[in-house]
Amino acid sequence: MVQDISRRTLLRYSVFGIGGAAVLGLAGCAPGGSGAPAATPGGGTATDFTFSSWSLSEEAAKPAIESALTSFRQAEGIEIDTVAYPYNEYLNQLTLQVRGGQFAGAAQLDVAWLSALAALGKLTDLSAFTSGAGYTDAALGAGRSDGKQLGLPWTIGAVGLIGNAELFERAGASLTPTTIEEFEDGLRALKGIGVIPYAASTKAAQLKDIVVWMQTFGSPIVDGDASAIGDEASVKAVEWYKKLYDDGLIAPDVDRAAARTLFAQGATAIYDDAPVGKSSVLSQSPDASLGDKMVPIARPVLKAGQTPQHVLWGHLVVVVDGAGAQTASDFAAWLTSDPAQSETYFTALGLPPTTDAALSSTAVTSNTFVEAFTSSITATAQPSPLWKYPAYGQMETAIAEQVQAVLIGQAQPAAAMKTAGEAIDRLL
């Protein structure tokens, strides 16, 4: 059976479809935001707002954050809606929400993501909340972008080396290597006892870790308005990394998750992590005393007397302008600097607080791991030079791809770093 439909009929029905598509297309061109006004402490009547956080979906952190939200709710007599996304999807989802005008209020943010979100022009300047709050200078620096305090520091630490003291002792290696040579000697000794000496990142997903080694070798990473990747220092760093790889001192296919697992199983003696990783390591370890053996190690330097290089790690609270932004700003300040709240949060999760008062509290000083981590690693930590660019993720990927090519023998260090540098220049 075959029936004919006339051209006129078809056109008539098509008008509805095309018209609908045009409406949908126009709707897709929603405008972005520009600047956001600064907030002032305690201004106006408390109003409801929304709080976005990845930690709210995490079993360990959720009770502590819900407890904080409840305290603030009750004190102010307001409601706080919550939104949670998984960590790996969080920035994309939050960006989409802010860009689409669907989110206003307070949001948890990784320190690395500040510039990317600030580029949308909707973050409230929280400078007025910093005076008298007692934040450390390093912590405040992590929340600053283009001279504005766009984020208040919630927990600030660093990514550094963590060693297994028992394995170091067995190998006769130094837990306090000063220079790269001493560090390498220690790795060779550790290889002798049959473990992977250093679970350094060798998988593209985490090869951005090489940036801090490039800084250790003396590369500024970004020089003015141009990439410095490809300079002598960055090439030497990659050549050294390749030597560790070829000599079996670091292993193939390792990312942060694999490194934690290897460390938890006693299969590696040293890996890179922030304090937040400790609970993950302990949860998958058959060794109940591993926590006592975990020692933060200051990253070695090229020549004695230089400052160890560490990249900052931490969480901020930012405020997206819109309904409830004023109260959300008060909440951000309270959550990150109230002495009792900071101590409670640290006790629950072991994440380093950001005010001098909280850092000198008994709760923190009696935690030997955090205390040692703060003094030996966080003390010299800096934000990555790439983070100030919204496309920093693509830049890190460009570096990672080229370093991986070197490790597997598909590229020479100098040529690969030149390629990476050119890719970064295009993104700057």
């Binding site: 439909i5 061109c29 934690r260």
Partner: protein, 300 residues
């Protein structure tokens, strides 16, 4: 008298082929063994992830990453299943998944059966172009459309609703369903429809009383395809659904994967539990599914 020599009896045709010579028998035996081994490898390959899923879900947390990994768990625990069943949120995600997947499947089937029938049995200007246009929408990377869909749904106030998920899932399932069902309707003889028309049935009656019952396997196959698409989607559900309408894939990631660690055993237990409804649906409907997918593959 002449004698007629008896006609020699015709040679009897052997009812069974003569036994193969020993060398050929050995060869066919080897081929059979080769086939069995190949099949066994394929089955092992297919079932290994499911087996690993099961083993991990039954292993105590501190042994999940033991090296070398144990093929058979030396210790079994059901604590991870208890964790999953003790989490009320997961049942909320399950309910949301069922709602959006079932409605997506029904909507996709209803729309695509009319479209597929029209493409198959009607001739109109631009028919072929329209068919390829429908199919071309399947070629877009989904992530490309996500931002546009998000902004459109935001403008229409549809974010965080079931409708947003159902519409977006249907956008992707419809083209393939239409083409699947067009192939199915192509295989139905035009004479059948012509006979119904001679008997006085109108187009509506012909479709619902004659064509529709015959199309059941195709409709089931298309429906299952659409259902699975809705059931498995991660990124659209994460972006468009909001916390109250979130489905299982983003819900499970949100529950068991965190910044610093992943609760693999609980995630595996939850994955096994939530795959049961899909497996049951496939087992119950597999005879329709096979018939529906292969319909129209051979003509004549």
């Amino acid at each position: 008298m002449s004698t007629i020599a008896p006609t020699p009896a015709p040679a009897t045709l052997p009812l069974e082929p003569a036994p193969a010579p020993p060398a050929r028998r050995r060869r066919s035996g080897r081929i059979r063994w080769g086939m069995w081994i190949s099949l066994a490898v394929i089955v092992l390959f297919g079932f290994a992830p499911v087996y690993w899923l099961l083993v991990t879900s039954l292993t105590p947390s501190d042994r999940v990453f033991a090296f070398p990994p144990a093929l058979f768990p030396t210790q079994i625990t059901f604590e991870h299943y208890a964790t999953v069943f003790g989490n009320a949120q997961i049942f909320g995600y399950l309910r949301n998944s069922v709602i959006v997947s079932v409605i997506t499947a029904v909507l996709s089937v209803v729309v695509s059966m009319y479209m597929g029938y029209a493409f198959s049995k009607y001739r109109f200007v631009g028919r072929k172009s329209l068919m390829y246009f429908v199919l071309s929408s399947q070629m877009f990377p989904q992530a490309l459309l996500l931002v546009t869909l998000y902004l459109v749904f935001a403008q229409f106030g549809l974010l965080n609703t079931y409708l947003a998920l159902i519409l977006s899932f249907t956008t992707f399932t419809l083209p393939l369903c239409v083409w699947m069902l067009k192939g199915f309707f192509d295989a139905l003889p035009d004479d059948l429809i012509e006979a119904a028309r001679i008997d006085g049935a109108g187009p509506w009656r012909i479709f619902h009383s004659v064509v529709f019952p015959l199309a059941a396997p195709g409709l089931v196959a298309a429906g299952l395809f659409a259902f699975v698409r809705g059931w498995n989607d991660f990124i659209f559900a994460l972006t468009l659904a909001g916390p109250d309408r979130q489905t299982l894939p983003p819900g499970l990631v949100n529950t068991f994967i965190s910044e610093a660690s992943t609760s693999w055993p609980a995630l595996m237990a939850a994955s096994l539990i939530v795959s049961v409804p899909v497996c049951v649906a496939f087992i119950l409907l597999q005879r329709f599914l096979v018939g529906g997918i292969t319909a129209g593959a051979v003509k004549g």
